[in-house]
Symmetry: C2
Subunit: 233 residues, 2 copies
DNA sequence: GATACGACTGACCGACCGGTCAGTCAGTGA
DNA sequence: TCACTGACTGACCGGTCGGTCAGTCGTATC
């Protein structure tokens, strides 16, 4: 069966069975997770016999790792595409956030796959791959913030890694829980990732307090460090 | 099935088999997910025959739902415990964040179980339970913010739901990715949820920009609305 | 003592799991 | 022409899955 025969290659289907297997497996693993997907299901979706999968991949886990490796490679590429920016810190942050969240949604399956791997315990090999991608992303954002700090745009007492965590976390959380947020009547931005990313950056930049409240806050905590959290344990 | 009778039963180990099953299942489901846990494993861990589990719960899915129901009940209770607060908006936010993240780590299994259910697609019944808990939490925080806004502490143009999403997202993300963050050399707060929550609230309140950068920002975007994201697409 | 009942178990079921294997078949090079 | 190769398949493997069932045991009721 198969014999897709797209073009150019004479007799061999060229529509590489391996590629079809990887595509099918990526979609299924991303949606349901490793354990909930059977080799039979993958074979069916890829229009390939189950035995053929084992001809190309030595085991189910090996297939999963291959899928993950492709996803991480793609993801790294997307990441590189969204860099090369200049401008003020606010501009760069807004750009980063907007492009980042757009990329996450655009490549939803890849994102879900990597996040799934990142946020579970155990399994050295897979975690390391996902961690690499995530780490690159994180480092890029930290670099933007460090530059802004050197230029005096970012408050000197701010930890760039802290802000990066907050910003990336806000976007990852939005991606993960968009469906849930949609059900909350108070939430009006659930359908619009771009608007969400803009609002997040806006809050980060300006803070949420009114001018008068800021004055009170400064009067209360004269020491320049953290102003919150001075409560008895 | 399931006789209530938690105590006073004389000879029967009182250590209710049902309770043991639920405890074992909760731990396993939280750690590995529904599909990766077999009834045999649960039975072994609970020191009970597999058939006995089916005597108390009609199916694996029913057991899972029961576990989830208990987790949600507990979680709602924890939530109630951490309310009853007065004070300024900064104080209330810092308190909420600190207690919330502490509660998440303290009841890690329950948290993981609910998040796992919340962030996956499909499965009406389970999602609804988790969504209820999450929604209550969300609503509580929105209420705090609304009160602050009415008092003039919170900037008038800020959307409380937006801030609530950002704050809860920051905490959920930290909980989920603590292990990963620990591996990043730039991150110094990964081991200290309390400090992290304090820093997050601090950023929310004050913003991240230096005073001079704030002035530039205000000059650039005279309209009171969002100051970021005015770039060509 | 007879009876009834709920908690509990070991043996068992069909279905399906990941994985193997012998063999088919088209293309290739000598 | 023919040996060889690699992609590919259907049939099959042992094992585990969720789930069932006949039956044992301890206790409560009459």
């Amino acid at each position: 069966m198969v014999s897709g025969m797209t073009e150019s290659t004479p007799t061999r289907p060229a529509g590489d069975a391996t590629a079809r297997i990887l595509t099918a497996a990526e979609a299924l693993f991303a949606k349901h997770g490793f354990d909930a997907v059977s080799m039979n299901t993958i074979a069916e979706r890829a229009s390939v016999s189950k035995a053929n999968i084992f001809h190309h991949f030595s085991s189910k886990k090996a297939l999963y790792l291959a899928v993950l490796r492709v996803a991480c490679r793609d993801s790294t590429q997307y990441l590189q595409e969204l860099f090369v920016e200049t401008g003020t810190l606010p501009e760069r942050l807004a750009n980063f956030a907007r492009k980042q969240i757009a990329s996450m949604f655009e490549h939803g399956e890849v994102t879900r796959l990597i996040l799934r791997e990142l946020l579970k315990d155990g399994e050295r090999q897979g975690r390391d791959l996902a961690e690499k991608v995530f780490g690159d992303n994180f480092a890029q954002l930290v670099e933007i913030l460090r530059t802004g700090q050197a230029r005096g745009e970012l408050r000197a007492d701010m930890d760039p890694a802290m802000i990066a965590t907050l910003l990336i976390g806000a976007m990852v959380f939005f991606f993960e829980s968009q469906e849930v947020l949609r059900h909350f009547p108070d939430v009006k931005f659930a359908h619009d990732p771009k608007r969400y990313s803009g609002l997040v950056v806006d809050i980060l930049l300006r803070g949420i307090l009114s001018d008068s409240a800021v004055k009170n806050l400064r009067r209360a905590g004269k020491n320049g460090a953290s102003s919150s959290a001075q409560h008895k344990e």
